[in-house]
Symmetry: C2
Subunit: 333 residues, 2 copies
């Protein structure tokens, strides 16, 4: 059987059970943004790992090497943010094809170092090897979180408000510009920057994890369409999303109008936004949204609500149910 038959998540469901069996109750393994391990009385250790492979996750000719280094670390830090954690150290394995120059790699490490300094995440080790054809970068990040603040994908409850901590779709728009060779005017460059230098929502994650009423949390990596399915699986619930409420940045709006793109579809399925997808107890949402705006000078965007188990993911536009053609980024298809 080929992997495309069962997809990335089907494959994970297939191989996970023997490894989840016999796991101590105190540990959260496969299935959330990070593994969660008891550290001491009131703190959990967080561990996450992400692999970027040339021609799958990036095109070497299209991404400046410093951005590649920056992004490889950022996507891991984003997983720590999604648990409400503080990242502390990183480990990089790199497989290098022989046509890459040392000076180009210097830039990769300079970009990585820039974000390591910004976030105070020490690079403490790794593995350096050659690769027969494609550049491969795997980064592991460790962090920690107070035990009473950690947030999981599995805590959403029917009636929760679903919200996101930033605009959606800028990264997806940037990728579209790169792949389809649109003109790189200033707006286009901004979208590409969102794609190449995502900002992990660390402060937002830490702040939200301290608010009473915040339930499930994860980062938007594959697009909310795919990511909401992860929350629905873990929390055993459904979700409905209001298309008109998907937050589209003024820049994406302009670019989408110019090229006649469906901005809502990009927002829902583009992926790699690396803001946070959060579910909040209905009765706490308004207060939290007000405080969030004061704290971050930006809205906490309400986009939908959690519904009962087995009701699936439903998109509503002017109260009509609609479907998107593409359901988030799924590897193997």
């Amino acid at each position: 059987m080929k992997l495309s038959t069962i997809g990335e998540f089907g494959f994970i469901h297939r191989i996970a059970p023997p490894f989840l069996k016999d796991l101590p109750n105190s540990i959260v393994g496969i299935g959330d943004d990070c593994a969660v391990i008891p550290w001491n009385n009131d703190t959990f250790l967080l561990v996450t790992t992400d692999m970027l492979i040339e021609d799958i996750h990036f095109l070497r000719a299209k991404i400046p090497p410093a951005d590649l280094g920056y992004k490889a670390l950022a996507v891991n830090i984003s997983d720590i943010a999604a648990m409400g954690g503080i990242p502390t150290s990183s480990y990089i394995s790199i497989g290098i094809p022989k046509d890459i120059d040392v000076e180009w790699l210097d830039e990769v490490y300079a970009g990585l170092h820039e974000l390591a300094c910004e976030t105070q995440v020490h690079l403490l080790g790794g593995d350096t090897t050659k690769s027969p054809a494609h550049l491969v970068i795997n980064i592991t990040v460790l962090g920690y979180v107070k035990a009473d603040q950690v947030k999981y994908r599995s805590s959403a409850i029917e009636g929760d408000i679903i919200c996101v901590t930033d605009y959606l779709g800028d990264s997806g728009g940037g990728l579209k510009i790169l792949l389809e060779n649109y003109e790189q005017d200033n707006n286009a460059k901004e979208l590409i920057k969102s794609h190449h230098r995502p900002r992990a929502h660390l402060s937002e994650g830490q702040w939200l994890s301290k608010q009473k009423g915040v339930r499930a949390m994860m980062d938007v990596s594959d697009g909310i369409d795919s990511d909401l399915h992860r929350i629905m699986e873990s929390s055993i619930c459904g979700a409905e999303i209001y298309i008109e409420k998907l937050p589209i940045s003024p820049i994406l709006k302009q670019v989408a109008e110019k090229y006649n793109w469906d901005a809502s579809e990009i927002a829902a399925t583009g992926g790699e936004d690396y803001c946070l997808l959060v579910t909040i107890d209905n009765s706490y949402f308004e207060d939290i949204a007000v405080e969030f705006e004061k704290e971050f000078n930006r809205s906490l965007f309400e986009i939908g609500k959690i519904t009962k188990a087995n009701s699936g993911l439903v998109y509503l536009k002017q109260n009509q149910q609609i479907r998107f053609g593409k359901h988030g980024y799924n590897h193997f298809i």
Copy 2:
């Protein structure tokens, strides 16, 4: 500049300095088998990561998938053994080309699960993605060690006895049989098994780390020729190795005689033995060797001694200095 000009270790020396600057004294970063991080009062957290790429580290047609999964985990556990530690959890990133069947991957995970059970190392997470051409497996392993027992590469002192915890060269012999298509008789199969299913010397590492007089320790991954250079760099010392004392297994001896191989050269430069390379205070060595034999029913093989700084790595055969043609496994050349 191409990477082959400076080699793997030249590259690591080039990119490491900005990341080592400003590192708290309590943390050991790039440059040992594991990163070492304070965990609580008397325990350190250990972190190691290793990447295996098809056609660089293994040939898909030559390694049974279960052995590949087993080995990918074993080489990481070996790094924990090298610090005297106990491994606890692992994280696997896998990049999968589309011509690989799910059933073949099931076997990879079965081999990994087998060793995970043997060593009680929980698989707690990872990343699953596609790869354009080559299978890539990156594993990160966490472990811990008592703060007063951790062993580093940097603790060797002039006069120390250099020893290894097992025969050398079986794995290198197995690789030679695979690459050069020798007949796979029973002896050959044993050597291939050493190459495909290395045993991390966890018990030996933990036992040695508790013995007074044990100084530097690392695992034999690239071959003692290359690995001793790592100890010499970290400890600022030289080393001499007695060729006649390199421990060659009866099986490798037979196979080497049959095909007229230089067993000593394979022992020194073959690599992937994954036993431990240890330096021990001269005055403690004999007692430790006696106790080691009682404990493990196997010799602690003395192979040379640590010499003063800047005296290089010298091989002696019947008191004559000799050179090997190949200096361990160096990536990028």
